[in-house]
């Protein structure tokens, strides 16, 4: 295990890792969490699950610890935030005060009461992270400490204080915190001085593209089953219907404002109830392709190579094109990391057995570029990657996308990571009553 304690203050320990796989391995070993990765494919996953079942021990040998997993949705065992929190809080409070306690915990971490009955699966990445904080706080009296895994700061900067609030509550109760970060991730007072990779590489020429928004409105219908959820809508408003942008573009905005919803509208996954939205670039007008936040699920339970073979089974020409893009990106990243003397290069996976998160992302990106869409949207592309690797990955992704006429939009809460390559910004801001303002700007503004 190539981990290093980079900071240890009182009961807080920070460990840094070169890759997602190393980080996960440490996290699982230390926290005794039964987390089985799915990237190696269904067969290995089911084998591991079988092992877990065979070796299952009903007795408890370790103290209870709270965990914040790499995928914030995985720690949520129940379908709604209310269920998640009340299951824990019922250990400390009687049922008459449970409602108030749940709402207090939600409010403490910036989540309003209406969120209590929303399905966990409908929450955004940032909202899920805040719910994890609230759950950890609720567990404080019954746990020994917290094992937390990045992305701990998948939040709008104005919400960073939520994590600090949780840390101080843990310290106050004398609980330990063990944080696993990926190299280069910021953490409270600690900022890793990562090399500015982009400065060392050739600049990517900007590419023009247009975002056309004819006041698209997305309506989420009222549901009464299994829990009540009132009708809500997101109406994207823009001063001009066409925005002239330069790729790579950053998409920024508060947690839960609708960045991922906009990506789904542009890619045709969600059809707006009113208006329409699309992108136009060198490749013409059409639906965008997306790399989701939780990109592992996009492998559809297959291995990295098996997914690629399955997708291109009936198109040998485009299969070769995607393979060549993949090989070009992977070798460029390996060369870059080698030239930067990056110690964790071996942890990026081997060429014959592709099972690392980076390889999965590269495969999915290569497949999307090869289809020549007008726009490629990458939702939090840095997830699970150390800063250096993430920057190399994005540099190659943008370079290859531009070469194939594809514009790139990056949804992010860490704009500083991509500041050197991005050429324009799309800002989403809350205008109230479900209206979301979409405005553009240049990086230097």
């Amino acid at each position: 295990m190539d981990s290093e304690i980079v900071e240890a203050t009182g009961k807080l320990e920070i460990h840094e890792f070169y890759s997602f796989e190393e980080q996960l391995s440490y996290f699982v070993n230390e926290s005794k969490t039964s987390l089985i990765p799915t990237i190696p494919g269904a067969r290995i996953f089911l084998g591991e699950l079988g092992n877990w079942l065979v070796n299952y021990n009903d007795e408890l040998t370790e103290d209870w610890v709270s965990v914040i997993l790499p995928n914030p949705s995985q720690g949520m065992s129940f379908p709604t935030p209310f269920d998640v929190l009340s299951t824990i809080l019922q250990l400390q409070f009687d049922s008459s005060s449970l409602n108030d306690q749940v709402h207090n915990h939600l409010l403490e971490f910036g989540l309003d009461e209406s969120m209590a009955t929303r399905p966990v699966v409908s929450l955004s990445g940032g909202e899920l992270l805040l719910l994890n904080y609230a759950k950890t706080k609720a567990m404080l009296p019954v746990v020994k400490g917290l094992f937390a895994c990045s992305p701990l700061r998948w939040l709008n900067p104005k919400r960073f204080e939520m994590w600090e609030h949780l840390v101080s509550a843990m310290h106050h109760k004398n609980k330990f915190i063990d944080v696993s970060l990926l190299l280069g991730e910021p953490f409270i007072d600690y900022e890793y001085d990562a090399a500015a990779i982009f400065e060392k590489k050739a600049t990517i020429p900007a590419k023009k593209w247009e975002l056309v928004l004819n006041d698209p409105k997305v309506t989420f219908q009222e549901t009464s089953f299994p829990t009540y959820q009132e009708e809500s809508c997101i109406e994207f408003e823009c001063s001009a219907s066409t925005m002239d942008l330069m790729s790579p573009s950053l998409v920024i905005g508060d947690n839960g404002i609708g960045k991922s919803v906009l990506a789904k509208v542009l890619s045709g996954i969600i059809t707006p109830s009113e208006g329409d939205a699309y992108s136009v670039s060198q490749n013409g007008k059409g639906l965008a392709r997306v790399l989701f936040q939780d990109s592992i699920e996009q492998l559809f339970g297959k291995t990295v190579d098996a997914h690629s073979q399955w997708v291109f089974r009936f198109d040998s020409w485009i299969s070769k094109k995607a393979e060549s893009i993949y090989q070009s990106m992977e070798s460029a990243i390996r060369n870059d990391l080698h030239s930067f003397h990056f110690k964790g290069i071996s942890s990026l996976g081997t060429a014959d057995k592709k099972s690392s998160l980076l390889q999965a992302k590269l495969r999915l990106v290569a497949e999307r570029i090869s289809t020549s869409p007008p726009l490629l949207i990458l939702d939090e592309p840095g997830w699970g990657l150390s800063k250096i690797v993430a920057q190399c990955f994005m540099h190659e992704a943008c370079k290859h996308a531009h070469e194939h006429g594809v514009a790139v939009a990056i949804i992010t809460h860490q704009p500083d990571w991509w500041a050197d390559i991005s050429r324009s910004i799309i800002r989403l801001s809350d205008l109230g009553k479900g209206r979301v303002g979409v405005s553009q700007g240049l990086m230097n503004q």
Binding site: T33, F45, L60, S77, P79, D83, E222, S224, Q298
Partner: protein, 266 residues
């Protein structure tokens, strides 16, 4: 309509009993089997009175009457189920459940039909008409059972069970937690399917055809490629649904085990 709203029944045991009663034809066949037999008899008597029987096609007529009675009875039963789901869960949920049932039914019937055509051994000594009726029966039953299943598992709260068994001791704890876990796993299947649907739509915008299929145009046997495609798509869906449904199970088990331990120590 409110009278059919199952969630209005506060007592979960009573609700469980009512839902079991509503699902009795699925679990035991009663009283649908009796109804089908009665309908068959009435129809055959009617046929006899009208003088429509001929010795040559007697077997075929009996089989058709049996199948039509079965299908009609299940359609009526499905409508009752839909009415209950509609009044409890609303139109949106009913349509979602129906959508899932329709796709599953269609895949089952189409793959069954293709397999029976390609490998006649599967069809046995059944005639073509018999096979058509058999597939129709499967389709109608799927349209009734799948929405009922989704509705059933969502009528109960896993949290509620954990909370209730928390007040009990001994073996009730274990049984209760196992039920809660099983229920939550089935509920999670529904959540997984809807999130996989987004991924599928991004990958294959036409939903029923693959995004990349240029080879289909260049080869003379291209139209036959739909069969391996459908088969691989079905397998992919099953694999993905199984993997992502089971993925959080160890963590859920761990959490429930911890809660049980905490309860015991209090």
């Amino acid at each position: 309509m409110t009278i059919l709203n199952v969630t209005k029944i506060r007592n979960p045991w009573l609700r469980f009993g009512v839902l079991l009663g509503v699902g009795a034809p699925i679990f035991s066949g009663w009283p649908l089997t009796e109804f089908v037999v009665w309908m068959e008899a009435r129809t055959l008597i009617l046929y006899g009175q009208m003088g429509l029987f001929e010795i040559d096609n007697l077997e075929e007529i009996v089989m058709s009457v049996q199948s039509i009675s079965f299908i009609s009875a299940w359609i009526c039963y499905a409508c009752i189920l839909y009415l209950i789901i509609l009044s409890t869960a609303g139109q949106k949920r009913l349509l979602e459940y129906l959508g899932a049932a329709f796709v599953l039914g269609l895949i089952t019937v189409l793959s069954g039909s293709v397999i029976r055509t390609l490998i006649p051994w599967f069809a046995g000594d059944r005639s073509e008409v018999e096979i058509v009726f058999l597939l129709l029966r499967i389709f109608v039953v799927t349209l009734a059972v799948v929405p009922y299943f989704f509705f059933f598992v969502n009528c109960f709260s896993a949290r509620g069970i954990v909370e209730r068994v928390g007040r009990k001791t001994g073996k009730f704890w274990n049984i209760g937690l196992h039920i809660a876990l099983l229920l939550r796993m089935f509920q999670h299947t529904g959540e997984v399917i809807f999130s996989l649907l987004d991924i599928w739509k991004e990958e294959h915008p036409e939903m029923i055809f693959p995004r990349h299929r240029k080879d289909w145009k260049s080869r003379w046997y291209s139209s036959a490629s739909i069969v391996p495609w459908v088969w691989s798509a079905v397998l992919a869906w099953i694999t993905a649904a199984v993997v992502y449904t089971l993925e959080p199970v160890p963590i859920m088990v761990d959490e429930l085990k911890r809660i049980r331990h905490q309860r015991r120590s209090q």
